[in-house]
Amino acid sequence: MCRLFAITSQEPLSPMTAVNALNVMKEGHDGSGVGLFLRDLGGPFEDIKDAPILSGIFTKSGLVRLDSFMVKYGFMTKYKITTSLTKNPPPGVPKRDVYIIRAYEYPEAWEGMSQEDKYDKLVEIRLELRQMGAAEGDMIVYSFWPDVIMIKEIGDPMRVAEHLRLDRAEFNSRIVMAQGRQNTNYAINLYACHPFFLRGYSTMTNGENTAFIPIRDYLQSRGITGYSGFQSDSEVFTHILHYTKHILGLDLEYFKHIITPLQGADIEMHPDRSFLKNLKQTCRRLIIDGPNCVIGSMQDHTLFMVQDRKKFRPGIVGGRPGVYAFSSEICGLDAAIPERDKSTDFQPMHLDTAIVGPDRKEVKICRQTDPLPHQRCA
């Protein structure tokens, strides 16, 4: 089983906070890999929030190809984190040439382009790079997005973190999502490693998505750039989140109504039953069938956790104003925020979405049986 940990803090934190939390939950994962998602960056990236950052792993020849590719587009490197690697990586961690975290300046030609168009182009470029890398086996690209860093590697999370010296202030950020990974159904492939990222949305999951194939088939048939890959059955959660918010224009409170809609009498009693029934029917192929605990990050720095209908996976949220964390297990939360009021810890159940907004002031619990936000406004 995987273990998840995510934290959102007003003050930038080291990703080691999350890696330590994964470490205390080690009994729950097999140390076969780690994935990190950093957002709302501190350190040197604080002043270049708009600059798209490329995250990935490259061979030397891949790096040469990357440079000429980026130059062709007119991207100029603005800042990069250089990691000098020891000759021999720790046991279980593959030997790599270069881990890239590089912020770019937008090409001059993009000036005047709308933000949305720029974002679309960034997705296209990331996918193009991924394709190039897949052809030659010399590039792995996780994200290419402003204010976002992603690191994924095979091996024990703590050893990987030490190997990459993630305790450096350059990596500090206000949002960290981390997953300690166990491989179950799918072969070890870095693209199958959580968290997943698409156009500002990121999710990571604990559990197995048993409805993966019909969901994948449906997403693939939408004709939306970026609904590809599918190396993991959990990648679809990122796509569904993107679809919910970006394509359908529905807020996060609706996400759970799409992936695990209300059933039977619950939907009949809901004040928005007509809307919800329509949503359930029209988005039927996006219903997940778990068991899954999903943690996700939104473009506006909101962090959330949802459980599927079965609620077979562990998950807890707790903290104090200014810093909140979502964790698979209580011990992970204890390790990260020991000095919190534990009586306010909350374990989201089968109807809940736990949301910590960008202000990080409170945990908002959204039950599916509650009226939808538009109703409250009305």
């Binding site: 048993t210 359908l248 809307f275 209908r309």
Partner: protein
């Protein structure tokens, strides 16, 4: 046969028949029940002459013959009286003295059941035991980290949608702008397929309706039943139970005068309207109700004279092309119920199914597509149509589903598959396999006749006389002497039994796969088969 009778080409002996009636003289009470119950009058009183030779022990006394007679049962050998193997004689025999047994070789009757140049017609099924559906296994069992679910105690939502589902973007837009959102029904995925009032006897039809109503109102199972082409009793049309009914309109339009007149008096909108363009048992042929079954009641409901055969044309004659027919009929049927009832066509599985489906994808009113495979049953058809025409359902529904996936409309147009589902008794496994191949729901006919009313048909050409109104169980007969053998209440009870047990078995299949939140439509990764070609054809795993 007497020695002075001529032997004609069609003179057959008992051995030439498909069924031999084994009769035990020792046990027989000579009550005559077997002969009187036999639907084809295959049995008659037999007067047998027996010679006993008394051989003398010495030369003086001459030997003598003793001639005696005894009475018993004789099997007739004329083609029209050939035993159909229904076994009613065994059922009524107080002493278990009689039993029809299937011939150990191919019968000769098949060459002679065309007297007057008329090929054999019959009811029933294709009579092929094997089928690909029985060979499909469910292999993706959740183990270890993600445990299988408890089929008995976990919650399951095993519902499907019947109706045109708009894509999410359009649905939300139409909700905002008060646009027309097509009606969609949330129903149980196992539908009782179209069997007409006329093909079925009054207690059978009523029993099915009662069972369906009970499942809906007492068991919270939204089961639906299709009327078939024989119209619908106006009393049912005007009742609240019509919402559990799918009304069928087919090329004969039987009963639609009555039905249209009932529309203003209807309290509820029917579940849906099915427009029949074809059926799996006799593709390219219209419905057929033989004159035997057209009595006063049936004639009144269908709006026809008594005692005439009712062959429906193979296609809807008022339209010149199928595309136009589909488009116009869907629209006019939608209009009849104020665009509140889903309207969908039913076709026989065919290599042209994809063309129909593609046509429907471009018709915003098309609410689904029902496809009936070659193993579908019927009340009356030519033997050649049943045995040799048609397309297997599995690959047909799979092709259609994958085509919908390709164009991204797999949630918009539900496919309902029928034809031989559960023909060997494995209803839940067959239904689940078709659902995971891409069907949104399943239609059954023969299975429910067997389970709910004790239909005697089998895949061994047993009985199969539904067409001539002589159904010995009273299921497909309009003769009160026969249909009084069947009680509507008993049928209803068995319908409920069959559905409840199906529900448990379906859960026993989906629970180990980890599925409970939604019906696993298109979950083809769960399926495998031990035939490489079949696996490739269906795009599922090959296992040995």
């Amino acid at each position: 046969m007497q020695a002075d009778r001529p032997i004609t080409p069609s003179t057959l002996c008992i051995k030439d028949l498909p069924w031999q009636v084994l009769w035990n003289k020792e046990k027989c009470a000579l009550c005559g029940r077997c002969a009187s119950v036999c639907p084809v009058r295959a049995l008659e009183l037999g007067v047998f002459r027996k010679r006993t030779i008394n051989t003398a022990l010495n030369l003086e006394t001459p030997s003598s013959n003793l001639y005696s007679i005894f009475h018993g049962v004789r099997q007739k050998t004329e083609p029209q009286h050939a035993c159909v193997g229904c076994g009613m004689c065994t059922l009524v025999c107080p002493n278990d003295a009689i039993l029809p047994e299937r011939s150990d070789e191919a019968d000769k009757l098949r060459y002679h059941s065309n007297a007057g140049g008329l090929p054999r017609t019959r009811g029933g099924r294709r009579n092929v035991k094997d089928g690909i559906l029985d060979r499909i296994k469910f292999v993706r069992i959740s183990m270890l980290t993600d445990p299988a679910l408890d089929a008995g105690r976990h919650e399951f939502e095993l519902r499907t949608l019947l109706g045109r589902v708009l894509p999410p973007e359009e649905n939300l837009k139409f909700q905002r702008e008060n646009g027309w959102i097509p009606p969609v029904r949330e129903i149980y995925p196992l539908v009782i397929g179209s069997m007409s009032f006329g093909a079925l006897s009054p207690p059978m039809w009523e029993g099915l309706q009662m069972g369906v109503a009970y499942l809906n109102e007492e068991m919270n199972m939204p089961v639906r039943m299709c009327t078939g082409e024989g119209g619908c009793p106006p009393r049912l049309m005007r009742s609240r139970f019509i919402k559990y009914v799918i009304l069928q309109i087919a090329s004969g339009y039987f009963g639609w005068d009555e039905m249209i007149h009932a529309i203003p008096h209807m309290k509820e909108v029917p579940c849906a309207i099915e427009i029949k363009y074809g059926q799996g048992a006799k593709p390219g042929d219209g419905g057929l109700l033989m004159w035997h079954k057209v009595n006063k009641l049936i004639a009144a409901i269908r709006g026809v004279p008594v005692g005439v055969s009712l062959p429906s044309p193979p296609t809807h004659q008022t339209k010149y092309s199928i595309e136009e027919a589909v488009a116009k009929m869907i629209q006019s049927m939608s209009m009849a119920w104020g665009f509140q009832a889903p309207v969908y066509p039913k076709i026989s599985a065919s290599s042209t199914s994809l063309a129909v489906l593609n046509n429907l994808t471009r018709n915003p009113y098309a609410a689904g597509l029902a496809i009936d495979g070659e193993d579908g049953g019927t009340g009356a058809a030519y033997n050649v149509s049943m045995d040799h025409m048609g397309h297997p359902i599995a690959s047909n529904v799979r092709d259609c589903y994958l085509n919908l996936v390709k164009i991204g409309k797999q949630n918009e147009i539900p496919l309902f598959a029928g034809g031989g589902v559960g023909k060997n008794g494995n209803l839940a496994a067959n239904a689940a396999a078709l659902i995971m191949l891409g069907a949104s729901g399943i239609q059954i006919g023969k299975y429910i006749m067997q389970a709910a009313a004790g239909c005697l048909g089998s895949e061994g050409d047993r009985c199969n006389i539904c067409n001539i109104g002589l159904c010995p169980k009273g299921i497909t007969s309009q003769d009160p002497r026969l249909f009084k053998r069947l009680s509507a209440e008993n049928v209803a009870e068995r319908v409920v039994d069959a559905y409840l047990s199906f529900d448990i078995e379906l859960k026993k299949i989906v629970a180990p796969l980890g599925r409970s939140t939604s019906l696993p439509i298109g979950m083809s990764d769960a399926l495998a088969i031990d035939d490489k070609h079949a696996a490739d054809r269906l795009d599922i795993k090959y296992v040995v």
